[in-house]
Symmetry: C2
């Protein structure tokens, strides 16, 4: 069992790699090799199998060729690499190059292996918006109001069509905002949705650029890793004629999430949040949807979050205690 | 008012060009130049303005550059050029190259003009299928079951996103099967949906590869041309946050359409239809949807067909008498 994780240096890639190392097996077989690739060399992880860490730009055709020639074929590919929402909105061409062409190039490389590998594709709830109903239900037209969302939706169409053709065995997961994300703030418009918790619990100030009534659809890192592994383990045919699903999450307002943090971690962190509105961030995140009904994904065995209090506790256990 | 029609050698491109020639004006301004481009040089049309006819491969970057450098900027672009359904299903890479990259390249060339031109994009009802409900209603998730449909849906996402960004002013029309199409059979899986009428009314045999109970969502060439011109004339902002719509049509079974032909043209043509099933064609067209509710497009001023008898009469008037 050879596995590739693109975006393997990111926090989801790293947590996923550690989870795979802990279980040692995937799809009923022992994992013998895991390749982590990202623009910069991913951090090391301890594992009972070979781990290769590669700096590689997957939007570049010759880099992809080298990766697959030197380390392929893969049995399972987790495709997490992407230009994030704020960056794709600021630079349309960069987003098209990486999120559309890079994804197509990766899917083509997977197809060229000839073994129809399992491909788990990180899509995003940012595919929803615009004229879609509130709440979002399964089966509504994707009407993204960001370039990131549009590019992710195009990747979904490729994934489903290339699965239908038998080129690969795709499973597309529309990720809620993942909070609390460890690490540093980044160019994602959703960056604050983690940093107002993560940074304030570690004694630092952090700005919230939207009103506390803003509602978001979110999930914890632990939950999303469980769901990624379930996506790889499940029978792809169970997804039917559409390989892409709304991943479960929770709807909470920023204010309710702050109250949950206070309940778990005491009153200090909330006092470190500043409240300077940012119209650029607001324009992007107001195009997203906070309310989504649980449906198809639950029927398919994916799991939802019970509370944001859990997310706060898990962050303290997994990312601070570590 | 400078206008570009890609796929200008096809029957819709030619009929659209003649309709523009007849009205002489578009969007309140006199048409001064019309450029028709296709893989082969489009046929001449008579017009009260300059008509340029160009053989050009729009999936090739340097061909696009030459076209726009020599003949742009355009105020209105009708993008009809595409690899049709049967050919895109048989050759995935060709479909990606022309229908996805060619469309993106054309939209990028339109953006580079700097004038945010009106772009009327020919999408297709083939974007619907799979897990979408029956009948198709406005707002259902696009779940194409052909590569052609997937590629058209990706073009829709680009059109809406690039309109949102102000790069162009897009209007995307999901065309029903256009019947009765003049000319010769082609590689579209829907080719028989015209030829069993067109060819038999002209004294030739024609094969129907599906059962007569097969229902299709169809529209007449006259109707689709009216709707293309309406799409160019209307305020793009009226489309809201999703620039793409299901174009009106009619649902009829093949058997009902044959009865309509018989009512208008007598009993002889129907006797020239042969009935050899073709599993390749059936696999494609069974992925399409015959039943669609009229909704948003009617509210926006687009028009529907009243009967297939009209379509038969119009074919005899427009394409045989001509």
């Amino acid at each position: 069992m050879h596995i590739l994780i693109t975006g393997g240096g990111g926090f989801i890639g790293q947590k996923l790699a550690r989870a795979l190392a802990a279980q040692g097996r995937l799809r009923g077989a022992e994992i013998s090799k895991l390749v982590l690739t990202d623009l910069g060399e991913p951090a090391a992880i301890e594992a009972p199998f070979e781990v290769v860490r590669l700096a590689s730009d997957l939007s570049d055709g010759s880099s992809r060729e080298t990766l697959f020639a030197d380390h392929g074929p893969f049995d399972v590919i987790f495709h997490l690499a992407a230009v994030v929402s704020g960056a794709a909105e600021a630079d349309f061409d960069l987003g098209i190059r990486v999120n559309l062409f890079g994804t197509l190039g990766l899917f083509e490389a997977a197809r060229a292996q000839g073994n129809a590998p399992v491909v788990v594709y990180a899509s995003s709830m940012a595919v929803h918006g615009g004229m879609a109903p509130d709440p979002i239900v399964d089966g509504v037209e994707l009407n993204p109001q960001t370039s990131y969302g549009a590019q992710k939706a195009m990747g979904e169409l490729l994934l489903t069509d290339m699965s239908r053709k038998g080129f690969l065995d795709g499973r597309g997961l529309r990720l809620p905002t993942v909070s609390i994300r460890p690490g540093k703030p980044n160019a994602a418009a959703s960056s604050f949705m983690s940093s107002i918790f993560r940074d304030t619990m570690q004694g630092n100030l952090s700005n919230c650029p939207v009103d506390e009534s803003y509602e978001l659809w979110h999930t914890a890192p632990r939950t999303v890793i469980r769901n990624f592994i379930h996506a790889a383990e499940m029978d792809g045919g169970a997804l039917g004629e559409n390989r892409c699903i709304n991943l479960p999450g929770r709807c909470d307002s920023i204010g309710a999430m702050i109250a949950a943090m206070t309940a778990v971690a005491g009153p200090e962190p909330a006092t470190r949040i500043t409240w300077d509105r940012d119209p650029v961030i607001e324009a992007i995140v107001n195009g997203w949807r906070g309310r989504v009904t649980l449906g198809r994904a639950i029927d398919l065995g994916f799991v939802a979050d019970d509370s944001f209090e859990d997310s706060v506790r898990w962050f303290l256990e997994d990312d601070i205690a570590r």
